[in-house]
Amino acid sequence: MGLDIRIPIGAMFALLGAILAVFGIFADQAIYAKSLGINVNFWWGLVMLAFGIFMLVMAKRAKQN
């Protein structure tokens, strides 16, 4: 259909994940009192980033075949 949906999904999650993770490193740690002291921005950002990259890799592999 002219567009592999994994590309926009991968790009969006990689971007959002990276933003969240970086923000998680630099933001005031006091905001994590809400999330039981866990830096959820950093960790969940990493998870989203990994998922985004995974989607992009899948799309690339599909293209090569």
């Binding site: 259909m1 002219g2 999904i9 933003i19 933001a27 999330s35 039981l36 959820v40 921005n41 998922f51």
Partner: protein, 581 residues
Amino acid sequence: MQLTNVDWAVMAIYFVFVLGIGVWLKKSIKTSSDFFLSGRSIPAWITGLAFISANLGAQEVIGMGAQGAKYGIMTSHFYWLGAIPAMVFVGIFMMPFYYGSKVRSVPEYLKARFDEKTRGFNALTFAAMTVLSSGVSLYAMGLLLRELLGWDFDVSVWVAAVIVLVYIFLGGLTSAIYNEVLQFFLIVFGFLPLALLGLRDAGGWSGLKERLAGVATANGFEAGAWTESWQHLNSPTANPMGVEWFGMAMGLGFVLSFGYWCTDFLVVQRAMAADSMSAARRTPLIAAVPKMFFPFLVILPGMFAIALLHHLGPGGLDWPKAKDGSLNYDMAIPLMLGHYFPTGMLGIGLTALMASFMSGMAGNVTAFNTVWTYDIYQAYIYRNASDQHYLWVGRLATVFGILISIAAAYVATQFNNIMDLLQLVFAFVNAPLLATFLLGMFWKRATGHAAFAGLILGTIAAALQHAWTIPAGATSLIKGGWFAAIGQRLDISNPVFSIWHTYPSDMAQNFWKAIFAWTTCFVVTIVVSLFTKPREDRELVGLVYSLTEKPKDDAKTWYARPATLGVIVLVMCVVLNIIFW
């Protein structure tokens, strides 16, 4: 709830991607089939995720969270008793007729199988219902964003509507489906941390159970009423839902769930866009796998909220109240987002919430423009136009459908009762539909006159049940008891103008309404069929089970076979039922 720049950035990025997909797909839309059916070219995993995402509207996310708080884990029956078995059934047994007969919509199947009037009735009510639901969804979103973030109602409604309009107008069903997949992942990633944090805070499932035992006993139920899904179904008074096992299994599990997942074009349309028969059949089966875990994303947060309220005491949690002073249960999920998510993650969570509103709305709009164009415009208004003409009509229908939705959202702000009443009427119309489809697909003797009569009388049966019964504690006439009210007004007292039965809850009344309507339609269709002339067998090939060649599995691997997949899904579903027994 306060947002900071990072939350705004997350939202902005999401909107850019959603619109970008529409713009990108614009050039691949050349024919009406591209626009309405995605040219039947989409792989099963994508249609499968879109299949559940189209249904992940406001009602699903906000509503399931609310019910999780009100009824606890019993809410999972909507999934583990209702949706999952229904999705397996539609994939294995019904999809061969929808996809194989090459019809372009569910109403068109009724035309092919029965006759014009059955299709017309279904198409008109369905079209009206979809624009209305999308309007109600917009209204709910506007209300929620105002309550939560203080956003202007007009701005929220128009911005969301215009974004949905743009991406469907440009990319048609493909754009809606692709965005639904994006929204699906966003909803999972936005809500999963909430489930994890909430469980951790409560001390795991056992900790949550302990807290909810307090909620249950405070409400006069046994300690496990919020955390055990089957053990309290012996009598309607033993559980907060006010339902007993038969009404639950037959009403919700069979009639309502099968009715929705097997006959609603909103979801079936996604499977029809698949690239092969096997992919179309696998669509609902693939969808069923994530679907069965959705209770953990949408029901659990509601349970956290009510548990936390009980645990912290009335002052511990600032739970918004409804007009009558009771808890506004619809705020359960947003409340938990604000409670556990710091800024940043909060942006993701709120964007996921908006994504759910938009995917639900887009599902309605794409189903509407197809039914309008193929089943109303092409059938009754302008029959033999060029394909480009119908493509153009479809785009125009998208614009008008969304404008009507916006209008409906504003009507809802002024006259909420009108919306409730309209939804009630559509519930009457929908209740008998399943019987028509089951008889149409599996009994070749069923005739068009019979199907039409069954639908009309089934709808009337639903309305009569509503007029003669009432749920306990009902305060408005929307809830039923109409004849008694008329009798009171006219000062007549006889058995006709009275309440025949009082159900313990709205749910029980709904479930039994579905049972009455289905049974009426089923019996009437059979009886009338026996007195009317059947169609010849050769006309029904591809439309009825006994006259259609069984679809061969063209899948290469064992796990891609619909039957195998169906069995796996059902086993997983049974296991979940046992775990939360």
